[in-house]
């Protein structure tokens, strides 16, 4: 089935940023490609060596920039290339996720998964799942609106890092 063909007019297309570990989930996404498994095109991948290297600031920044949803995915527990990176990551999300939820951010906008290098199928399901879920929630306007209200700033996030010459 081709999602693209079934796409209704003016359907909201959420932007999802996925933070993946190099060894498991990134390779799993590659495997989905090798297997020509079709999935929705809303995801943009940022590759890091390990989920343990993902600072929660990355996620805040992604929302700030306008992401509608975020996926964090790495090796299954016990399979971490660096032995314990994903365990430490899991600790972080154990406190960070409830904090965001407490501040009124829908937990479905920020999802976590373990996807191994062999789970191309699971990658496809996960992406379709989060895209559908976030599409259901609609654009993350409340956060995106923060960019436009309040006093104008000299160095907005959008151009904070771009060099001009």
């Amino acid at each position: 089935m081709s999602k693209a063909e079934a796409k209704p007019e003016n359907q909201f297309e959420p932007k999802i940023i996925a933070f993946l570990c190099n060894w498991c989930t990134y390779a799993g996404a590659d495997l989905a490609g090798t297997g020509r498994k079709e999935y929705q095109a809303n995801v943009r991948i940022i590759k890091l060596p390990c989920t343990g290297g993902i600072d929660p600031l990355f996620l805040i920044k992604a929302f700030e920039r306008g992401a509608d949803g975020i996926l964090v995915s790495g090796c299954h527990p016990g399979d971490c290339h660096y032995n314990s990176g994903n365990y430490h990551a899991r600790r972080r999300w154990n406190v960070f996720r409830p904090l965001l939820e407490f501040c009124g951010i829908n937990p479905d906008r920020i999802q976590f998964s373990w996807i191994s290098a062999a789970e191309g199928g699971k990658w496809v399901e996960t992406i379709n799942g989060i895209v559908d879920a976030v599409r259901e929630l609609g654009p993350f306007e409340s956060y995106q609106k923060l960019n436009t209200i309040g006093p104008e700033t000299s160095g907005g996030a959008a151009d904070a890092s771009s060099e001009t010459g």
Partner: protein
């Protein structure tokens, strides 16, 4: 008790055990106290102790100007003394470099401070000397300790968002919260890092959210609930709610409470293979 404190301070200064005593002195009005730094034995009469001694004096351990005074003795309540355990674990002080005059405490503030309502450290867990009659540190049930959060946790997602936006909107990025916090001891706060600028330093709603969330997150598994950040906030953002929420999650998920046991691994620098992962897909 005040006499006992003064005597102790005098003794420590006289015999050279410490160079300075961090304590509480009388404030401009009777309902206030202020921190005092006694360096001469003859000044010990400036020390006082009453229910208005709400501050956590351990914050002066991170400041250059007070550090310069030499080895301190600190007058610490049970809650404040928890900070010491965290600071020791995080290599910010050495045990032999501080002298702790623990005071037993039945609660401070008028009305009683929120932090005192579910206190289980009436007698400090770590001290060199104890002033005041020893109290039993009765365990307070989990639910009771975090009862303050209930009404906020119950809010609808939309209402939560609105509540916090209204709060964060007020933030003027004065950083009093992190200045007063004894555990915000970085030389360069993340908000001061400008290459890249993760957190917008201007008082803009976008950066305000990032700042307040990050400040709280950086205290996860560390905050000892002294409520100082909230007390000093000039625009009355209930910051401690965020800290408390994280403390609750850390305790629920990792069975960890900072500042209770020097032998416990710091929650955010360790893991268990069977840590909760229900939220993983």
């Amino acid at each position: 008790m005040i006499e006992e404190l003064r005597k102790k301070a005098e003794e420590l200064l006289k015999n050279g055990t410490v160079k300075v005593v961090f304590g509480y002195g009388e404030g401009s009005v009777p309902e206030r106290t202020r921190p005092v730094f006694i360096t001469k034995p003859e000044d010990v009469n400036k020390l006082t102790w009453n229910k208005y001694c709400v501050y956590n004096l351990t914050t002066y351990l991170k400041r250059q100007e007070t550090r310069k005074l030499g080895k301190p003795a600190l007058i610490l309540k049970g809650c404040d003394a928890r900070t010491i355990i965290v600071l020791l674990k995080e290599c910010q002080i050495k045990r032999e470099d501080v002298y702790i005059i623990g005071v037993t405490c039945d609660g401070v503030g008028d009305p009683l401070a929120e932090k005192c309502k579910a206190c289980d450290v009436h007698t400090p867990l770590i001290y060199d000397d104890l002033v005041g009659e020893k109290r039993e540190n009765k365990e307070v049930p989990f639910e009771e300790r975090y009862a303050e959060l209930d009404e906020y946790e119950k809010l609808e997602e939309k209402d939560k968002w609105e509540f916090w936006q209204k709060q964060f909107e007020k933030c003027i990025k004065c950083y009093a919260c992190s200045n007063i916090c004894p555990l915000c001891f970085c030389d360069r706060c993340i908000v001061e890092k400008n290459q890249p600028q993760w957190i917008d330093p201007s008082a803009h709603p976008r950066g305000n959210l990032s700042w307040n969330v990050t400040r709280a997150y950086h205290l996860a598994g560390r905050c000892i609930n002294c409520e100082e950040c909230q007390r000093v906030c000039p625009v009355d953002i209930p910051l401690n709610l965020l800290n408390k929420k994280l403390a609750k999650e850390a305790e629920k998920s990792f069975d960890y409470r900072p500042g209770y046991n020097i032998d416990d691994e710091l929650a955010m620098s360790t893991y268990k293979e069977d840590d909760d992962e229900d939220f993983f897909k």
